[in-house]
Symmetry: C2
Subunit: 229 residues, 2 copies
């Protein structure tokens, strides 16, 4: 990246953060480009060097959050790693992105109805892609036997909810804020929520599977109500 | 409940659903009490029999969602059940409430900044209580050895996120919508995300055992020689 390109990126990043904060505080309608220029400390003509309108700012939020995440998950789904590893990396990556910009993410969620038609379509396509890739990773894990059989779409929503909710509680500026630790814990919990730890790394075969069925049937039997009760 | 008390409750329920839908569609500012009366099919003077202001409607949303959930979780935390069972019931109950009123829940999240000071304080106290009770259940499970050692607060946020996100994707009116199945799956995933399945003394539940049997049978089936070979 050249010096000027990187300077431009830094400024765009600053613009998005300040704009998201102002939108959250005063609402989208209640915020002007002048407010945003003042918050960043540049003149309004200089602002036009970076963005033309508030709509364009929202569009940059869409591409920076939803579409980047969708592209990353597509790559992970298509990788050659184990399904457990693909899921772990997907959750870590989604969580770290939200930890870095929680207010941008919340703003995007709340502003969906004011996005222009084309941006809304891009945002919704991005969200559908994120769900589809995560569901595919879970279904892949189920087929391979790494994960429990379950409804892959509901499981994907459950895991996405755990990641997305970070935007509602994580404070990147709080003392001791540790995005890496949060991402690690959420990834581990997501993996445990679907993975069959009973056979991880255990060499399985039909005989072992039959033994496991027998044990599970005995377990269910113990939990049945007594006859006639 | 007397007939008239139950009629009143039915009408309040209808009012809250219609008002939440209108607020979501037109915004809180863009909705008048007249709009709400028309949507419910009563006159404005009759409306005043039930509510005095839009603020009061938001207040009813707060008490109906946040405070009721907090009270229920307090009861579960204090119960004598195993920590696994307390967690399972807590997740089921939170999920079922959101499945029943997803738009109310989203509206409340989006309207926090327009709640009057006293309602906002009640809402925030309710949210803090929900988090505290769920964290306490997780910490209890960790201390007892039922759950893996982990950061109980982050784990509680992860599980709450998985439940709360239901408001963003579940459509109670969609064909085949099955709140009970969603609540069961989210509760099972939440339990697995924290429970130590390595300890034989920890029951994972007959449902989990049946899921495992099903997966094992499929595994055995895949490894059977083809018929006639």
């Amino acid at each position: 990246m050249t010096g000027s390109a990187s300077r431009r990126q830094l400024m765009e990043n600053e613009l998005l953060d300040r704009a998201a904060a102002l939108f959250a505080e005063r609402g989208f309608e209640g915020t002007t480009l002048k407010d945003i220029a003042e918050a960043v400390g540049i003149t309004r003509p200089s602002l036009y060097h970076y963005i033309k309108s508030k709509d364009e700012l929202l569009g940059m939020l869409v591409s920076g959050l939803t579409e980047t995440a969708a592209a990353e998950l597509a790559e992970m789904e298509a990788s050659e790693l184990s399904w457990s590893e693909r899921l772990t990396r997907a959750v870590r990556s989604v969580t770290l992105r939200i930890c870095a910009h929680p207010s941008r993410f919340r703003l995007l969620d709340r502003s969906e109805h004011i996005l222009s038609e084309s941006f809304r379509r891009r945002h919704q396509a991005g969200k559908r892609a994120i769900l589809a890739h995560l569901s595919a990773i879970i279904d892949g894990g189920i087929k391979s036997g790494e994960f429990w059989p379950t409804d892959g779409r509901v499981a994907a929503f459950s895991i996405l909810g755990s990641c997305n909710w970070v935007a509602w509680w994580f404070r990147p500026d709080a003392p001791g804020a540790a995005p890496e630790a949060v991402a690690d814990q959420l990834a581990l919990m997501a993996l445990r929520s679907v993975a069959r730890t009973d056979r991880a790394s255990v060499p399985v075969g039909p005989r072992a599977a039959l033994a496991a069925i027998r044990a599970d049937l005995e377990y269910v039997e113990r939990h049945l109500p007594a006859e006639g009760s």
